[in-house]
Symmetry: D2
Subunit: 298 residues, 4 copies
């Protein structure tokens, strides 16, 4: 066992779980079943109300509904509470604490550009006032602002970060500037790299439809088989790239059903569900990608 990198074995695979809708309402049973299935596949924690979960499109009540459903299945939860209404954010944070949720998270206030840094700092400090373990969810390309390593240092109370960022260096800088902090990269294309380069893990939307592949990537890296891990990562890259052509979030619902074999409902408009022709096309292509990689490795 000598020579096996210890750090890599501990890397976590966290899933930003989708929110199953039927007729515009959350289907609690489907969410619970999906959560169970992901945990059995080896996923470590469930990130609730993330982007894939359509967090910014949920009402405060819906965010709470999602949390409670997942808590019925597991306590390995990160509860995302962010919104553009501070009162609601704090109320959800308190709710999380009362329900015994170990970790909550929030993105920065989205949409509004040019916010002064002091306002961002204050936003997160107020959340820290309500809960002991708060993670930053940094997602500059969606949120329109970057809460970087230096800003996190200024905030002073954040215990971890999900950094959805093409730049792995950006993620690494959190560890340089804030040594005790847990750092997860959130790009589907950087699962292998995140683990190999010593981050604490990944929060990958692809874990909704290929959780076993991500678990296998982690195993390969921990055994020093980077070349084999890279091939699995490339399969994920191709699946994600394919799905993005149809709209990533709506496609995930189709891929979960098609690959994992159970229903997870639909997204909610304006994230319109795919039409029948698109569903079939997406799934056919996805299966071809998976077959191609499986043959190569045989």
């Amino acid at each position: 066992m000598e020579g096996i990198p210890e750090v890599m074995k501990m890397a976590e695979i966290i899933v930003p779980v989708l929110t199953p809708f039927n007729d515009g309402k959350i289907n609690i049973e489907l969410l619970k079943e999906h959560t169970s299935s992901l945990l059995k596949a080896g996923v470590d924690r469930i990130f609730v109300n993330g982007t894939t979960g359509m967090g910014p499109a949920l009402s405060p009540g819906e965010k709470e509904t999602n949390l409670k459903a997942v808590l019925e299945v597991t306590d390995k939860v990160i509860f995302q509470v962010g919104s553009l209404n501070m009162g609601e954010v704090k109320s959800l944070a308190r709710e999380g604490k009362e329900l015994g949720v170990k970790t909550i998270a929030s993105y920065a206030p989205y949409y509004f550009t040019g916010l002064p840094k002091s306002l961002i700092v204050r936003y997160f400090k107020e959340i820290c006032g309500e809960h002991d373990e708060v993670y930053l969810y940094n997602y500059p390309s969606a949120v329109g602002k970057d809460v970087d390593a230096e800003t996190v240092k200024e905030i002073g109370c954040l215990k971890g970060v999900k950094d959805t960022n093409d730049s792995i260096n950006h993620s690494l800088q959190y560890k340089r500037v804030n040594p005790g902090m847990k750092v997860f990269n959130g790009a589907d294309t950087l699962v292998m790299t995140s683990i190999a380069t010593g981050l604490d893990g990944t929060v990958s939307a692809a874990a909704n439809f290929v959780p076993e592949v991500l678990v296998e990537i982690r195993r390969k890296v921990s055994e020093g088989k980077v070349g084999e891990a890279m091939k699995l990562q490339f399969m994920v890259d191709e699946l994600v790239s394919l799905a993005k052509g149809y709209g990533y979030i709506p496609s995930i619902y189709v891929l979960v059903k098609g690959i994992r074999g159970y229903d997870v409902g639909n997204p909610r408009p304006p994230l319109f569900p795919l039409g029948d022709v698109e569903r079939k096309e997406l799934l056919d292509k996805a299966i071809k990608i998976m077959e191609k990689y499986n043959k190569n490795e045989a």
Copy 2:
């Protein structure tokens, strides 16, 4: 009067009106008073629930509250109804129609990146299904996607656009590709240019605190006095640049009170109101800017 450009005289000045909060609730009376004051100053139409009005931070009920308050003062209204919940968007659009609002508007679904064009097109078509006169509110830097002139052509039912965009060429292209469309640029720094270059007007947040200056810019341009209009625009530029240093939206509340002399309440956190020291500093500097320009022109 020969030689006076006809087009310019008709250019509209539209104000994206702020939303006055007290203790986290909309203060309807303050909104009505502010609306009246702006109309008296020469503003042509009121854009309700825009970015300055904190539209994305409002609940559906609050958006309706704002609309009804403004309708008590005037019917020259553009009612912004966009959100990340299609059902709520359509419901607000219907509400607008029932209340006799002539024009509604919507931004594209914000936050979610990489949405396919077909989804954007469908979003706006569904809104057009509910109302006769729908404007696009295009704001790429906040929304994360650009609904450009070609996409508008594909949507096919939009009657106007507020294009919040540093590129005046981007705004002009709507007119090239969609000849009958009303086109307004939404950048405070381009009021003079928008009018001089033949757009249908401007939707400028600065109209909240210096509406008379914008009206005067329009007059100067219509008289061919571009040099004088440019100086007024430069004064606006300096005020806006100053305000952005403190956070633009929170600063607007301070500037309305300080310059126009009446209370408009506060923004709502996480758009935290300015502290007392900041308020004083902002206002002192704003007054110095205005004095500097007034002296120059004396």
Copy 3:
């Protein structure tokens, strides 16, 4: 004649003249003929060794060759001298002075990213040490850095600027911060706007192939006929957009020959000349665009 904007009538139309090559060498006679033709069409000044002139691809000797050729035709010249070798830049500046060139210009050092502002300031100050009238050629998207209004103020010795920039506000800020400075925008799509909004004129590559149209745009604006000027601008927009699809600079050689009727040689690889099929296709489409707009206005 009352009401005609005085400022607009003085707006200059400057052409960044192409460099005619045959077999990789500058064809001096073709350059002189093209220059003469442009001046007859109403262009005010010739910008030598600009981007369209392939300035960054020319040796110091070739830059001098271009200058001398144009000087045989006119003294209305702006001599661009910039490069990544300070000694050569200064030598060319001196050469320009000795030859009686009234105005020289330079872009900032291109390619190298992250240069400190002090270095940029020093670069231009050293050029000012060699010549009395130095213009900045600001072109952020090609040069990779923005020499903005505040930096120009710090440099302190620049008399004008060609700002190749989609943001007309960026160009206007030079006038706000440096009141005596001549400001020209360099975007083909902003000819009409530049004149209407009170800049000192335009430096437009399209002046190589449709100089009369730009002159007509200026006339229309000066007469307050902004709507008619806008249509002419839209024709230019469509021609430029078409040409960019084939590579803009190589296309300009084809359009000059096809529209103006005389040979201007070829660009030099790696700006490869268009093939015969592409030439025909480009020209056919260009003529259709021009016919469409001419009919509309008949």
Copy 4:
């Protein structure tokens, strides 16, 4: 020795060697001495006329001078031949072949924006016509265009790539789309990640002043000690960040002399050498950074 990742042990450390100038002329002896020193420190290959070598600022003759100087010391050379003059590029490529250089490289034509893809493809194909082993030097932020994995596939003849890119995923895609290709990332901040994630190595400007640290990072990664490698990478990050504040390339000359103890001349204006005060300040701070990290690890 089981479990040690084989791939990582082979990762190459390539140095884009600086060009020592005195009075604006290349100092051949200093270049040879620096090259020897870097090879002794464990660097694998010398990248000549790269960005750090001020390639775009060199005449064709100077590029050849640099090559010949380095060839006197070693044949482990990558000869960068790119410029905006195709004839000169091809001539240098031939020269490299005649001199027995195994590998040449080129960036895409810089400065000119909006070049059609076909032109980029042809540029590299013409280079491949002159030499057997051609690498792409991809540097989008300096060159203004991205020659990505799909474009490389279309070019068809490139054997390797130096990808100067914050996105390690971008580098990895070359391997996915072009399986046989050698792929090196060129960001100083991604040395550890490049090796850990299975690329063929790194081309790092920091190898000019801390080559032993990069060699040590490689060793740590190959032993599975990612955490220790990360600390060394963070030291490099801080040094590079410090140096960039003074202008990166000019600072490298100071750091080589200060850290490695021998003279490498100066950069050439407009990359002006640092003044005495700046030199001292930079060096003092650099030494403090190195001491801080050395203590931590003691």
